[in-house]
Symmetry: C2
Subunit: 451 residues, 2 copies
C-alpha cells in the first residue's frame, strides 16, 4: 500500500537508467505516488534523477518536485533552464511555487515568473514573495474558493465549478462582501443540504477564525490545532481575504518546531539537516561546545580556588568537570541528530556507512577545535605544559568517543526496538561521564609516567 | 479573534456563578467556541464548571466535553449520571465517544451505551471499544460518507444528503462494492465537475491509500504526513471499509510523540502531565536520577582507583562527577517540563505560584531520596562519615537549587522572548555544573572546618 524503498529496487532502477529502459522506468514510476518518487530521487545522482523525471508527465513531475527536500531541490533544479522550471511551476500551487522560487537565485526567479503563461499565477506568486516564510503570509496559498454573500446556492455552485479547476483541495468556501472582506464560510455539507435557491447570506457561518498575514507560523499552528481546523483563511489588517493555509503545511510547521526544540535541547544553535555539509554541521554544534568548554574551564579555575583546602591534589583534578561536561554535550548532540534521522527514516539500510563516516568527520573537526582552544587558553593562563597536553589529548579522545557512542547507541536501541530518543537523555551523559573519566585518567597515567 | 483567557475574565465569571447570573454566563459562553470554553473550565472548580456547562445547549456542551483534557474530564464526569453522559454522547462522534467512555468505570460505560437512543451510534461505539488506543482502529471514527461503485453521481449526491447528517466534516467520499470492500474515493471537486448522470465507476479515483486497523498510530501519522492526507480510510485485513481517521487526531499523535521524545531526552521514564500529582511526577523522574546517581558513584570509585597517582587528594574530589551529573540531570528534567508547559500555555499568568511550589515539592522528595540513598551506599561501602555527610548535604542542596534554576531559567527566557527550550540544553548543564561545584566545596569547607 504505502511504498517502501528497497536497495534491490534502487539498483534495478539505476540499471534501467544506464541501459535507457524508458518503458520500464515509466511503468515503475507511474505505479507510485509523487512523495514516493521524491524519496527515490533523493537516493540517485542528479543526472539519474533528472533523466527519470523527464520521462514522466509534466503535472506529475511538478508534483514530485514539490515534494523534494529543499536542499536537494536547490541543487537539482540548477540543471534545469528557466523555461523548464516555469513549465513545472504552472502546475504548482502558489505557496509551494514561492518556496521553490525562493530557493533560486534572483535572476532565475524573475525569469521564471516572466515566463509563466498563467498570469493569475504570476500575480499570486509576486504577491506572496513579500512575506517572510515564518509568518501566516509565507504559509498561505492564493488559490481558494470564495463566494459573494448575496449569491444563491445555485450561483455559488456554478462559481465553484468554475473556480475549482485552480484549487487542488476544497475544504471550505469563504464568504466575502463586494470588497472581498471576509465574512464567514459555508461548508460543502451545508450547501448540499440547503435549497438551491437559498441565499448564501441565509446559510453561511459567520463564526469564522482567520489569521492576519503577519501572524507567526507557530501561532497559526496553535490556532489550527486548538480549533481542529483543516484550513484557515488569511486576511490583511482590514479583514480582506488574502489566501488560505492548509493543515498539511501546519503539520510541517509542528514537526519542524518539535525538531527545533529537540535540537535546542541538544545544544545545536541553528536548525540543521542531517544532509547538510560537514562545515554547516560543525558550525551549528560548535557554539554550545565552546560555551560548555568555557564553563568547564571556569569550573576548573573554581576548584583551583580551593587548592589550599584540598592540599596536594595534582592539578589535573580541576579538569574533571570540563572532561565530563564536554563528553556529555558531544554525546547528546550526536545522538539527537541520529534520533531525528531515525524518526524521519524512510530507508534505514541505505547509506549507513556514509552517514557514520560523516559523523566521525564532524567529531574530528570539533575535537580539534575544542582541544586546540583549550590548549591555547591553558598556555595563556600559564598552566603547566604536561598538564595542558594531558587535558587536550584527553579532550580530543573524549569528543571522538562520545560522538561515536552518541551515534551508535541510538542506532543499536532502534535495532532492538527501543525508542532511540532514550539515548539523548542522562543515559548517554552518565555513560559518557564514565568514559571521559576513564580516558582522562588513562591518558594522564600514560603521559605522566612517560614525559 | 482567537480567545485569550485573562484573570479578569475568570474572576467575573466566578462571581457570576456565585450570584447565579444565568443570562450573563450564557451570553459570555455563546460568544466563544467549544475549545475556548474547555480551557476556561479547566481553571474552575468542578461544581462551577458543571454549573456553567448545564446552562448551555446540549450539543454545544457535548462539544466542550469532547475538548476537555482527559484527566480533567475523568474527574469532571464523576459528578454526572449515566443518563446525563448518554445525552452528551449522542452528539459526539464515535471515536471521541469511545475515548470518553474508556475513561469511565466499566459499569458507567455499559450503562451509557445501553442508554443511547441512537442504535447505530451504540453499535459504532461497541465496535470501537475493542481497539487499542495506539492503533489505527483506536483512532478511527465510524462516521463516514460512502457510495457504491455502481451508482450515478446524482444517486450519490442524494445518498450523501442523507448520510451527511451524521458526519461532522466531509473530506472524502469512499467508494465501496456491494460487500463494503474499499475500492477508492471520489473527491467533492470531481463530483461537482462531473455530469449528474455519470457513473461513480467512471469518475472515482482507485489510487487510494488506506491503513489496516491494527497499524500503529505513529505509522498512520507518518503515512498521512508523507501523502498530505486530511483523512485516511481504515480497512480490515480483507479490505472492508471500517472507518476513517481525520488529521486533527493525527496532529495530536504527532504532538504527543514530540512531547514523549523530549521527555525521554530529559530522562523522564513515563509520559507525565504537568497536572499529575507530585508522587507521579517524582516517580517518573526518579529512575534516571538514580541511574545517574549510580553512575556518579561508579565515577567516584573509578577516580578512587587512581588514588596512588593523584597522591594526596582529599577523597571528596572523587564525588565531583556525581555532584555535577546530578545537578545537570535535575536541571534538564525541571526545565523540560516547564518548557513543555510554556509551549502549551494558554494562560501563562495563572497559577504560576502553585506550579512553582509543586516543582519545589517534587525537588524536595527527589533530593531526600537521592541524598539518602547516597548516604546509605557510602555507609555500606565504608566511606568516612564526615565525607558522607558532606556529599549528601551538598547533593540535597544541588538537587533543590538545580531544580529551581531549571524552573526559573525557561520562565525568564520566555518572558524575554527567547525560546525556553534553550534552557534544557548544555546552557543549564554548564550553569548547574558550576553551581554544583560551588555548593559542594562551600559545604565541604564549612563542615570540615567545623566537625
Amino acid at each position: 500500500m504505502e511504498f517502501e524503498l528497497t536497495e534491490d529496487f534502487l539498483e534495478q532502477l539505476k540499471n534501467a537508467v544506464v541501459s535507457r529502459k524508458i518503458l520500464y522506468i515509466q511503468d515503475q514510476m507511474n505505479e507510485l505516488l509523487a512523495p514516493d518518487i521524491s524519496i527515490i530521487l533523493h537516493e540517485l545522482d542528479m543526472h539519474e534523477a533528472k533523466y527519470i523525471l523527464q520521462l514522466l508527465d509534466k503535472e506529475f513531475s511538478a508534483e514530485i518536485i514539490r515534494e523534494l527536500d529543499e536542499d536537494f531541490r536547490k541543487k537539482f533544479l540548477k540543471d534545469f533552464s528557466s523555461e523548464e522550471i516555469a513549465d513545472y511551476i504552472e502546475f504548482i500551487d502558489s505557496d509551494d511555487a514561492v518556496d521553490i522560487l525562493n530557493e533560486q537565485p534572483v535572476r532565475i526567479r524573475e525569469e521564471v515568473i516572466d515566463l509563466l503563461e498563467d498570469e493569475t499565477k504570476a500575480n499570486h506568486i509576486k504577491d506572496l514573495l513579500h512575506y517572510d516564510e515564518d509568518c501566516a503570509g509565507g504559509l498561505m496559498a492564493k488559490e481558494l474558493l470564495k463566494t459573494n454573500l448575496n449569491w444563491t446556492i445555485d450561483q455559488c455552485i456554478e462559481e465553484i465549478r468554475r473556480q475549482t479547476k485552480n484549487v487542488e483541495k476544497i475544504y471550505s468556501i469563504y464568504v466575502v462582501d463586494n470588497q472581498d472582506k471576509l465574512l464567514g464560510r459555508v461548508s460543502l455539507k451545508k450547501m448540499l443540504l440547503a435549497d438551491d435557491n437559498a441565499l448564501i447570506a441565509d446559510v453561511y457561518d459567520s463564526d469564522i477564525i482567520s489569521v492576519e498575514s503577519y501572524r507567526d507560523a507557530k501561532e497559526v499552528a496553535e490556532i489550527m490545532k486548538r480549533y481542529d481546523l483543516v484550513s484557515i483563511p488569511v486576511v490583511n489588517v482590514h479583514g480582506k481575504l488574502l489566501g488560505r493555509i492548509t493543515i498539511d503545511d501546519i503539520v510541517d510547521v509542528i514537526t519542524e518546531q518539535a525538531e527545533l526544540d529537540i535540537q535546542m535541547m541538544a545544544g545545536i544553535s541553528n536548525p540543521i539537516e542531517e544532509d547538510d555539509d560537514i562545515w554547516t554541521l560543525s558550525k551549528a554544534r560548535l557554539p554550545w561546545l565552546l560555551i560548555g568548554m568555557l564553563g568547564g574551564i571556569l569550573g576548573a579555575k573554581f576548584i583551583g580556588l580551593f587548592e589550599a583546602d584540598i592540599a596536594l591534589i595534582p592539578a589535573m583534578a580541576f579538569f574533571i568537570p570540563l572532561i565530563t561536561a564536554t563528553g556529555g554535550n558531544v554525546g547528546i548532540q550526536s545522538s539527537s541528530v541520529i534520533v531525528q534521522t531515525l524518526a524521519k527514516e524512510t530507508s534505514p539500510t541505505l547509506l549507513t556507512f556514509d552517514r557514520f563516516f560523516k559523523g566521525l568527520l564532524v567529531a574530528l573537526i570539533n575535537g580539534i577545535v575544542i582541544s586546540g582552544v583549550v590548549f591555547l587558553i591553558n598556555f595563556l593562563i600559564g598552566e603547566a605544559t604536561t598538564l595542558s597536553i594531558v587535558v587536550s589529548t584527553a579532550l580530543f579522545c573524549v569528543v571522538m568517543l562520545s560522538s561515536l557512542m552518541g551515534t551508535i547507541t541510538p542506532i543499536l536501541l532502534s535495532r532492538f526496538g527501543v525508542n532511540p530518543a532514550l539515548a539523548s537523555g542522562p543515559f548517554i551523559t552518565t555513560a559518557n561521564d564514565l568514559l571521559g573519566l576513564g580516558i582522562y585518567f588513562s591518558v594522564a597515567h600514560l603521559l605522566y609516567s612517560n614525559l
